[in-house]
Amino acid sequence: MKRLVALLLVLGALGSASVLHAKQFAISVTQIVEHPALDATRKGFEDRLKELGVDAKFTVHIAQGNIATANQIASQIQGEKPDLILAIATPTAQAVVQKIKNIPILATAVTDFVGAGLVKNMDKPGANVSGMTDLTPMDKHVALAKEFLPGLKTLGVMYNAGESNSVTLVNLLKAEAKKQGVAVEEATVVNSAGVMAAAKSLVGRCQAIYVPTDNTVVSALESVIKVAAESDLPIFSGDTDSVERGTMASLGFDYYGMGKQTGDMAKKILVDGVPVGDMPVEMLKELNLFINKKAAADFGVTVPEALLARASKIIE
């Protein structure tokens, strides 16, 4: 009897040990280009899985902004046979979704899932793809700009007309701004070298600038900030990382947080065995108000106390 108990104990211990030393998952990541917001998304994803105790080995591929390379990376990942694929940004997501049908794919930092052809239905994607959209809550962003600047009549927006995400966002911005009685002036850029000229072209045409989550403009944000500070044009940004770089304020779009929430989805797929096709495409749950007081002073704006009280982060 004692032996039997001992045997059971040993077996039990082995069993629980095997639960503790759960399988190491292989996750392949494909990202179109390295820039702070996308890197933060990846970091948030990795950190969240670690917090949840999911043991994962990451193989990261970055396409250096080259779509042909993104497509080759998709073949590469197919050969790696990972348990899960994380695709960051639209072109890389399209490349893996086209090639790989038998491995769960989470696409993140993608604005328009349906328009990009990644899923047919946001609530029930079906195939092997789901993920998180970084569609900005544009109604709230316009309202925030009006709270800062009650007399706001014209808002300038800068974006690359060649980035499909940005075109979607700007169309949304125009619709929401119209509802709230604000006109929108556009300045488009082709590459980061043209960002400063585009910022200058907005001087005198608007009372504030809105920078959406546009890869080209965000990558050359400093030149916009410089022009804006010289001309007292406050800048609002679509993401909060940019507030730390010197825009005046943003509501919420924290890419690190988005990566974390995508990490939660990954855990459901890997550990709980939820089929990816049953998981609706998610939006960011928490929106945080970031305010940069120093930048506001540079732009000649006094931040209303009510807003400061609501802010989750204030940069002095």
Binding site: Q64, G65, A68, A74, S75, V97, Q98, G117
Partner: protein, 298 residues
Amino acid sequence: MTWYAFSGALEQGFVYGLMVLGVYITFRVLHFPDLTVDGSLPLGAAVASVCITNGWDPYLACVPAMLAGFVAGMVTGILNTKFKILHLLASILTMIALYSINIRIMGRPNMALLNQQSVLDPLFSLGLTQAVAGPLLFGVMAVVVVGLLVWFLNTEQGQAMRATGDNPQMITAQGVDTHKMIIAGVGLSNALVALAGALVAQSQGAADVNMGVGVIVAGLASVIVGETLFGARSIGRRIAAALLGSVIYRLAIALALSLKLGAFSFTPSDINLITAILVVLALVSPQLKQKVQARARS
């Protein structure tokens, strides 16, 4: 390198090989450095995508794509010959104009083809997988185009085109209109580039206005790598070498993507550097070989 990565590199090598053949015509036959390519590749993708999403057969959609590419190349040729604009500048002007035109054609910067018919579907219905179908179909297409080009460049017109690049004075004296030859040659080149674009869009599931960025670099690198490794005097062999150069170039990138060297690891951002080094190695290896052989003889 895994089998998938290898077959992916083959697929890309062949499909971009069509573009490389176009680059070969301008760069080596006409001695016309043509940057229109960065715009005409997405142009072909855009035109084909619009046709396909409107219900056209994917093979048929390649025809207007090629025509559009031909016209784009003609514009560059006309700017150069009739308006005396330097060839590089003429092609840059067409290229940047195409950026806006491509967005107009698609009505947006990125057009998804993920749930549409593609040229690969007939092969899939035969039971082939993507990893086999892609290299097979694009390989056959590229070989057929190589054959057609070799045939064309040996016809009287083709000979005149080659002479236009090699010795314009002589060929003008022979009564050939070099302007027409340049316009037609750059047009033909960009028709092939646009065909590559139409096929690339179908293979990667989307046409994107930025898909042309840097393709001319890939094209030139492929031509030069092919020339150094396989080139020879006969025009047929040189054209086949350009196609093989494209395959080698993509294999080099696939290799760079899967490279891991013990404790020292490359970061993903090193891939451009590694690719450049691999291409340089391909370029200098014949010279090194000659030197080693010369030393062995002495």
